[in-house]
Symmetry: C2
Subunit: 114 residues, 2 copies
């Protein structure tokens, strides 16, 4: 059993994705062998990659205004109070659509955090 | 890909656990075959069961003041800004320690939501 203060959780090297900060709130380093809970903060004007991968995302918006792009680049607005499920191998992108950070929790199976 | 407004998510029948309301933010009904994200709200004076089970919990506190009990009933205070990892088969209990609802996100593998 581990209790952590999120203020003490360091930022990962996420330099491959400029403008996107990442923390692993709970993951394999905590003994969580199956699931990882990550926190992402996307700066204004930035976005996560438009991509797909063979694992799902369970997302809960925490702060700011965003846009979700689907496989057809259809846009869905996102803000606090919304949750998103992205299936395995679905194209997706989370874009900041505001002037403040756009933050969300993103849960993945452990293989998505390797 | 599914986007949901949490205000539209119904409450589960959680009558086996009085004083604890439960919503499944994302789960198998949404096509999430591996992981479920649930939201719990524990009323003042109430708690989740003191128990263990063969799956982990990944918890993020959302509201209120709580106490986590471990296998020795040692108490750890919980509030917004804390995350908790409970391993498979560890005894645990989440108690409301305040006068307002004590709420948290609790992520489990799908077998924990069957």
């Amino acid at each position: 059993m581990i209790v952590k203060d999120i203020k003490t959780i360091t930022f990962e090297d996420n330099s491959a994705y400029p403008g996107v900060d990442k923390q692993i709130y709970i993951g394999s380093r905590d003994g969580s062998a199956e699931i990882a809970m990550r926190y992402f903060s996307v700066k204004p004007g930035q976005s996560t990659p438009y991509h797909s991968h063979p694992f799902p995302h369970l997302v809960k918006i925490e702060k700011g205004k965003g846009i979700l792009l689907d496989k057809d680049k259809k846009e869905t607005p996102l803000e606090v109070g919304k949750v998103v499920y992205v299936n395995d191998n679905e194209m997706h992108c989370f874009k900041n659509a505001g002037n403040e950070p756009f933050d969300f929790i993103c849960v993945v199976p452990d293989r998505g955090e390797k």
